[in-house]
Symmetry: C2
Subunit: 496 residues, 2 copies
């Protein structure tokens, strides 16, 4: 067994542990009872330390060095070694005891968040966040020093390899200028158009679930190895060949849940479409969170909100939710699904206002990590920025600073990938439709095959063969930029 082959063996074991933790994480969010949280945190702490030991095994470091000198490796194998090195550098940058402390602090804050959010009690959450922020500063500093990057860039690199604050600032700066006047214009445009008729509920969760599953089936979700469940915050998880997504149901509004289902289906199909041959190797993994989010948003925003697709599913939506009257006409549903509104909640935001929610979080989390803002001032700063960016003031912290699970779970440097993903999705969808003009008309028949054929070739099937920026550039013929996203918004929302 040569060095490369030995690395593959090590990766198989690490992959099994990662898959196990995927199922356990899913269980924790959907199924486990609250009284089991402390024991689970302890269990996950041990498993994380174990995974960390696998990832930082000095033998692995030696083998990677050796494999880097092997000239007989093919493209995928070489890319595999590059990815292993990336992971090894990240993993060895952070001491095991810090990892373990973070696992406990995350679980603790995450659990507190679940109850504190409902009680609108930021004071209960604050000390847990304080502790997590401190640990995250240590974590970012350790990575920064090992990778020769700025601390926030080191966090970005964890989720979206190679991404820099400089790139994000350029893209977000552009959107911060472009979006606010566009929003004014779109809201005026929509106000001048036909009035949107609200379908009136209640829509029982079981009907919404049936609709979600019907749409998943139509899109091609592999129910033979996956399913839909419920959690506080929708997510796509599980393990290799065991793709599980969640949503949540609000009885008076079916649209949020339905589009969450489409969104998570996009994530799941990306994960499920990665090349089988490389599944247990780092090169066979998804290509970072910007690309992952591009796959959910490509489905949710680009494909599923086309006239063609909404017209196709309208009768199904009406029938499954037992709707009656003009609210259920395709034209009204199209308007409903494209309504632009200043809102409090990121996950319910439309695609025009959404990036501003992300830009707020991006600015705030950089400020937190720089200690420019103390934790106690977070709610106030949040509300001030909401007014400045989105133009609306949160009445409480529940729907303000406490709405997201990310910070209580110690996830920093991740928020930007949502909007980078939106920008990427627009650029990929444009490239796909340029290449194959049947993509959009096929959606009108509920046929995702042409779109998925392009995605299989250019995104899913490539896994980590290329870097994220290389993948985007090879798939679309140009580097990541905001042009296609801006053109998409103007076309869809102003018809220009």
């Amino acid at each position: 067994m040569n060095a490369y082959q030995e690395l593959e063996k090590l990766n198989e074991r690490a992959s099994a542990l990662g898959n196990a933790m995927g199922i356990l994480g899913w269980d924790e969010a959907t199924t486990m009872r609250e009284g089991s949280a402390a024991g689970r945190a302890q269990m996950m702490g041990h498993l994380s330390v174990l995974a960390h030991e696998f990832a930082t095994d000095p033998r692995r470091g030696d083998l990677i060095e050796e494999a880097e000198g092997m000239n007989e490796l093919g493209d995928w194998e070489r890319a595999n070694v590059r990815e292993m090195k990336h992971h090894y550098l990240h993993a060895t940058a952070v001491p095991a005891d810090l990892i373990e402390k973070m696992v406990h602090a995350r679980s603790d804050a995450g659990m507190t968040w679940r109850s504190a959010r409902g009680a609108n009690d930021f004071a209960a959450l604050a000390p847990k966040l304080e502790k997590l922020f401190d640990l995250t500063r240590e974590y970012a500093a350790a990575k920064a020093s090992a990778l020769g990057k700025q601390p926030y860039d080191a966090l970005l690199d964890t989720y979206d390899p190679g991404r820099t604050t400089q790139q994000v600032d350029a893209i977000f700066g552009d959107l911060e200028e472009f979006l606010p006047p566009l929003i004014d214009e779109v809201i005026a445009h929509q106000a001048a158009g036909p009035e949107i008729i609200e379908p009136t509920g209640p829509f029982p969760a079981e009907n919404q679930k049936a609709l979600g599953e019907a749409i998943m089936k139509l899109i091609g979700f592999p129910f033979e190895r996956g399913f839909l469940d419920v959690s506080h915050h929708p997510f796509s998880g599980g393990a290799d060949r065991d793709v599980r997504i969640t949503t949540r149901y609000e009885e008076n509004d079916f649209t949020a849940s339905l589009m969450a289902v489409v969104h998570e289906t996009g994530h799941a199909l990306y994960q499920d479409g990665l090349p089988l041959k490389w599944r247990q190797q780092p090169v066979g993994d998804h290509r970072g969170m910007t690309l992952h989010e591009s796959q959910s948003l490509l489905l949710e925003m680009q494909a599923a909100r086309t006239d063609e697709f909404i017209r196709h599913i309208s009768p199904l939506v009406k029938e499954t939710l037992k709707g009656e009257g003009p609210a259920w006409n395709a034209d009204n549903l199209i308007r409903l699904y494209r309504r632009v509104k200043r809102g409090l909640i990121r996950v319910y935001a439309d695609e025009v206002t959404y990036p501003l929610h992300v830009i707020l979080r991006y600015r705030l989390e950089k400020a937190i990590l720089n200690k420019d803002i103390p934790v106690k001032d977070l709610p106030g700063e949040w509300n001030k920025m909401m007014v400045n960016l989105v133009g609306i003031e949160p009445p409480d912290d529940k729907d303000g600073v406490m709405q997201d699970v990310h910070w209580p779970e110690g996830i920093f440097g991740y928020f930007p990938t949502y909007s980078l993903g939106a920008v990427t999705a627009a650029q990929l969808f444009k490239a796909a439709t340029d290449k194959d003009p049947s993509v959009v008309p096929s959606l009108g028949e509920g046929n995702f095959k042409p779109l998925f054929a392009w995605l299989d070739e250019n995104v899913r099937g490539r896994a980590c063969l290329l870097t994220p920026d290389e993948l985007i550039e090879q798939a679309t013929g140009k580097p990541l930029g905001t042009d296609d996203f801006k053109a998409h918004l103007k076309r869809r929302y102003l018809g220009t």
Copy 2:
């Protein structure tokens, strides 16, 4: 850190992995979709090899030897070392590659069983069983040689430490003589008594679930860290401080599901009542499967089938299942719950005929392992023995040889513990009621506290401080025997 302390650290990590596998196993039986089975088998294979490496780590062997010589250890610590040695001997007896082969073969046969059973297709299952039996012979031989025991005794020792074929033969030989004439007598006695009125269904699963949960609550199931779910075969699983039980619902018969719920609650409360301080150590584990089964049967058969308890829950049963008429009177429900009938299915058998189902399996699995019976003859042999022992012939293999998950999951030497557990339960319950005469009257008020106080002191709280036989003898004042069980059956079913 001395040798003993180092062992405790190793045990904590192994315990975390074991707990993780508990949740994953629960997920596999209740939640995972069939198309994920191959990937899951691969994952579990890796985790099992890892657990096996933990268990067989030569460092562990050295430390155990060192710890055995430490005079400063207390009773619990010394018992902990004894248990560690027991596990180490068992684990090192079997080579890692055989363990891995068995994990795959078990998962493969288990999955095939799920579909083959429904299709009554023993031929589809046979080659998978054949493979498992071969591997189990290897496994038993390896253990036998390492432990200096007979192969089947080595299997018994895995599930019920110290148990021998000689003891089992004595107890089962006694029951095999005692039960058939008793069954004739009881059936005649019941036929001469008031006719049992069948409550007529259907009983929708959701009502049965509500009833099951109400009874669990009454008994004291810790819903804050556990819950009830559905699987093909009821079981109690999950992890430390995360106790999960399952049942299955038949719409025309609520009694089977309800008593399965009580049974699994008994298992869960035993597990949940083990001393908190020792949870991550071998000495803090349950005291083998005979004791475990004694705890489920003590609840299901001894406590929950008393006149007192059935009278107490009758109104709840009637109300939750929306029953009407004389079938729902307490007297009729008592008769219903105590009906003795020759039946095909072990898990639905009453407590009088049940041991004969187990004796059949005990005899057959010893014959299989001795190669006295080829796999293809199993269905025929099964049916012949059913006629001889239980007095009824299975019309098909679905409700014959394929009814249990155990053999397809490679579990041998386990079946005897069901009836040894029943015998133990009778002996423990007798001791508890002798010691505290308020035990049974309290059940009539839905109050399990007196019973559980005795169990906490004599069984749950002792975990593995003693050997199984020592525990039974200290709790009841005599070695395990059939007297209390036989007296219980005669008293309950013949009133003598």
